[in-house]
């Protein structure tokens, strides 16, 4: 009898271990990718045209997003796709646009977004310059009826993540959007 229960225990335990590893692999990957991205970002800063963070990547970091008050520094990837979102925040649209929209998972990189308050400083290094913004608005949007509007000429930064923050299931239609405008005195 004992052996049988050993068996059961082993099977269930291994399933549990497998599940938890599978789950933890997501945030681990998110962290690990940031570390690899940091390297390719340094390469790019040093003048490399194209420096994929891992050999089979089809994207590379294009910006650094930082929130000094929350001690956040994250590398932003080019190309808004589900795959890229696993590794870091992604930039929607072109780097030359002044109107930036950055999205990330609410349960990996953008956990901090819920803590952003109006007035918080957010800065971004992109296209060879550092821009600083102040958070001005927060809102929740239903994506089934609304689309984001990008106006390339307007200086603005929006951070987009899923809402509600603590929902267990994924794939809901709501998004939390924090918009930051350039701080007075910054260009």
């Amino acid at each position: 009898m004992r052996a049988l229960s050993h068996w059961r225990f082993a099977a269930v335990f291994i399933t549990a271990a497998f599940l938890s590893l599978n789950a933890l692999w997501i945030p681990a990957k998110a962290e690990l990718a940031q570390w690899l991205l940091e390297r390719s970002w340094n390469d790019i800063q040093a003048g490399a045209e194209w420096s994929p963070p891992w050999p089979w990547a089809d994207t590379q970091p294009v910006a650094v997003l930082s929130v000094p008050s929350l001690n956040i520094r994250q590398l932003v990837l080019e190309g808004d796709s589900g795959r890229n979102l696993a590794f870091g925040p992604v930039l929607r649209g072109s780097t030359s646009s002044r109107d930036l929209v950055i999205s990330a998972h609410r349960d990996t990189h953008f956990t901090f977004v819920r803590e952003l308050e109006v007035g918080d400083q957010v800065s971004i290094e992109i296209a060879g310059e550092k821009r600083t913004y102040g958070v001005s608005f927060q809102e929740v949007i239903d994506t089934t009826h609304n689309a984001l509007v990008i106006e390339p000429g307007i200086d603005r930064l929006s951070l987009v993540t899923c809402y509600p923050f603590d929902a267990i299931d994924t794939g809901g239609p709501l998004r939390y959007v924090v918009t930051a405008l350039p701080l007075p005195g910054e260009t």
């Binding site: 052996a3 082993a10 269930v12 599978n22 796709s81 953008f110 609304n146 509007v149």
Partner: protein, 719 residues
């Protein structure tokens, strides 16, 4: 515990030995049922389990996140200007015989308070010849003209800067177009009508016309917003939220169908339609409220038995020359016997196939297997970043092989890049078998960036093989799939949804199992210019259309070919009829297509460009080098007011695993998985602390005395 067991083992040993002699079967059953108590066999199982667990975990850790070779062009409108804009689409299609003349009218309204410029990207059917553009602004009507691309751009730029309302339609890719519209006043409604010609498909006694629709912006119910504070970022709300001046619908689609044939069936594959008979045909309307217009529109119609088209020649004379259309009907299926084939299934398992697409592909493959005959050979190759062959060499479809293949197919998952080249190379360069015709059935969504390299590769490596492409998903790259099947001398099948798989694969199979008419030559007479120049194989149930420009009206056209190594001949007399002026445009289109294709085989691109540009200007067609431009003569926008910008992404194709447009799915969901793992862990600890369970313990104690205990290790006939 273990100690106690040790003590009793000698007595048990004897009992066991006896029991074993008396009831060998019982003993084995018991041993099996109980699980095994001995240390050594436990270890064996533990080891296996540990190895399995370790392998699983390694696989998990090493699970790559490879590159995504998908070009994500989004159809939709992009405004540089007003904050709230809307678009409404009306499509009118007139099908006469084999030609479809379509008019797409888009109604734009600038609902912002600034002057706007809009960019709108849209797909059109395969091989559409765009030749008309008309804009209505207020009560002015502007008619577009064909200009060389750069010239058209300059005209547009100038008008744009002068504040004149202007439109430019450019071709971006063979089946993708972009409209730009400058200087739309705040609140102004603009109607843009684009007209094009296209041909109807005919295969296996069924006509069909497809219209890609993923460009239509979505409609929806009421608008729910949870505002925390006023938004500085303009949100584009869907059209249905506010009444529009034109219609409350997003899209009106009407088709007038005049076939001249008695029809037994009319069917719309992906949309609900209403069909009204008219004096000379039918009127068909899409009745759906267009909750989702993210699918291709497809209309099919079947003529009554015996009225299927025969080989026919239609001509039209414009004074200088005669334009001719020859429809070549294939020999009837029962005239020829099937021949043994070697079927290589190549399936795309790249990341872009994720979701509904891979399900359709798997199902298509399984259906394909079912059609194999005894003397056929087959193999399966899957590819993503790399490729994998199921069998080293093609095998006969015996039960074991078919089962192995089915298991393999069931296990296919979409992940990784799209590296099509090596897989196609593997399929096309397998050593040729002398008595089997090799047919490659290539199942993919065709989302690749290096289309031209691949087409070139197919042309070079094809040899005696034939390539049949099966495109999967709601928005496949049909241009590429079609072209590769033409170069591959096979045919192209589209599967748009899961329940269409069976009929589509049945069609494909009917089609490829009978030998084709090969080495076709058409004698058009002197000084004729005809396209395509190299006539592809003619398959049962699928006629060919050939276009020619002739110096004078032909008396007869003769067609020769080879059907299973014996000569085959047909003659066609011209049917002179009115209203065939579209033949000129269609001929020009086929010539342009043929010129464009010659690029793949090394023709000087500059020469092609010049040729195509001249032809397009002569025949008034939109091509890669010519655009349609229309300018309002009077400036509309006062010089001191500026143009400004927004962006409305369109619907994602149905079946894609993304779930929001305009926003990414921004929740990884690992916490849910973690919670599940904790629950499992709790069960595991339950098992650990109450090993036999409450019930188990009770029954164990009652059973203990009478049960012959498990024998010691050496007595067990393990493995």
């Amino acid at each position: 515990m273990r100690h106690a067991q040790g003590n009793t083992s000698s007595i048990r040993d004897q009992l066991e030995q006896e029991a074993r002699h008396l009831y060998p079967n019982l003993y084995q059953r018991l041993a099996r049922r109980r699980g095994v108590k001995q240390k050594r066999s436990l270890r064996w199982q533990d080891r296996t389990l540990l190895i399995v667990a370790a392998v699983l975990m390694m696989a998990l850790l090493l699970r790559g996140e490879p590159a995504f070779a998908q070009d994500d062009i989004e159809y939709g409108i992009e405004w540089s200007g007003g904050t709230a804009t809307a678009v409404n689409t009306q499509i009118g299609i007139e099908i006469t015989g084999m030609v479809a003349r379509a008019e797409v009218t888009q109604v734009f309204q600038n609902r912002g308070s600034d002057w706007a410029e809009a960019t709108y990207r849209f797909p059109l059917p395969e091989g559409a010849a765009v030749d008309q553009l008309q804009i209505e602004v207020g009560n002015r009507v502007l008619v577009g003209e064909i200009q060389e691309k750069q010239t058209a751009r300059r005209i547009y730029q100038k008008a744009r800067n002068n504040g004149q309302t202007a439109t430019l339609v450019e071709q971006q890719r063979p089946n993708q177009f972009e409209t730009r519209l400058a200087n739309v006043a705040p609140g102004e409604v603009v109607r843009i009508t684009i007209g094009f010609l296209s041909t109807v498909n005919y295969r296996d006694g069924e006509f069909s016309f497809q219209f890609p629709m993923t460009f239509t912006p979505r409609a929806g119910g009421s608008n729910q917003r949870f505002e925390l504070e006023t938004s500085p970022r303009p949100m584009l709300t869907s059209w249905a939220d506010t009444p529009s001046p034109a219609s409350t619908h997003q899209l009106d689609l009407g088709i007038s169908l005049q076939t001249g044939l008695v029809l037994s069936k009319i069917d719309s594959r992906y949309h609900d339609v209403d069909i009204h008979p008219t004096t000379d045909g039918y009127h068909i309307f899409v009745t759906e409220q267009l909750a989702r217009t993210d699918r291709i529109f497809e209309l099919t119609w079947v003529p009554e038995l015996g009225t299927a088209p025969q080989t026919s020649l239609t001509t039209w004379e414009d004074g200088d020359s005669v334009y001719a259309l020859l429809m070549l009907a294939p020999p009837l299926q029962d005239e020829v016997a099937p021949q043994p084939r070697e079927v290589i299934f190549v399936i795309d398992t790249s990341g872009s196939m994720e979701g509904e697409s891979i399900k359709q592909a798997r199902s298509a493959l399984l259906h394909g297997l079912a059609y194999l005959e005894q003397d056929d050979l087959f193999n399966v190759i899957q590819f993503n970043s790399g490729h994998e062959q199921l069998f080293r060499n093609p095998v006969m479809p015996m039960t074991a092989e078919l089962e192995a293949a089915a298991d393999y197919i069931e296990g296919l998952a979409a992940n990784g890049g799209t590296n099509m080249g090596p897989a196609l190379h593997a399929a096309m360069t397998l050593p040729a078998s002398t008595d089997h015709l090799r047919q490659i059935v290539f199942i993919t969504d065709g989302s690749v960036g290096n289309e031209h390299d691949l087409l070139l590769q197919i042309g070079e490596e094809l040899g005696d093989s034939r390539l049949f492409t099966v495109s999967i998903g709601a928005a496949p790259n049909t241009w590429f799939m079609n072209k590769s099947s033409i170069i591959g001398r096979g045919s192209h099948t589209h599967i748009g949804k899961l329940d269409a798989v069976e009929s589509a694969m049945a069609d494909l199979w009917n089609h490829i199992q009978t030998p084709a008419l090969m080495n076709i030559e058409v004698d058009w007479g002197m000084d004729s210019e005809f396209f395509p120049e190299v006539i592809p194989d003619l398959y049962a149930g699928e006629p060919l259309w050939l276009y020619a420009k002739l110096p004078s009206q032909p008396r007869e056209v003769s067609i020769n070919g080879l059907l299973v190594d014996s000569p085959w001949e047909q003659h066609a007399q011209p049917l002179h009829s009115k209203g065939n002026e579209t033949l000129a445009t269609l001929w020009a289109r086929s010539k342009i297509e043929s010129l464009e294709d010659s690029r793949l085989f090394g023709t000087d691109p500059q020469w092609i460009r010049e040729q195509v540009t001249d032809l397009a200007l002569d025949y008034g067609m939109l091509t890669a080098y010519t655009s349609l431009v229309a300018v309002d003569k009077t400036p509309a926008r006062p010089a001191r007011q500026n143009l400004r910008s927004d962006n409305i992404p369109s619907l994602l194709p149905a079946g894609s695993s993304a779930n929001a447009t305009g926003f990414s799915a921004t929740a990884a969901g690992w916490k849910l998985q973690l919670i599940l793992s904790f629950i499992t862990l709790a069960i595991a600890s339950g098992l650990f602390f109450f090993p036999t369970g409450l019930l188990g313990r009770k029954s164990a104690s009652t059973r203990q005395p009478m049960a012959p205990s498990t024998p010691p290790c050496r007595a067990i006939p393990t493995a």
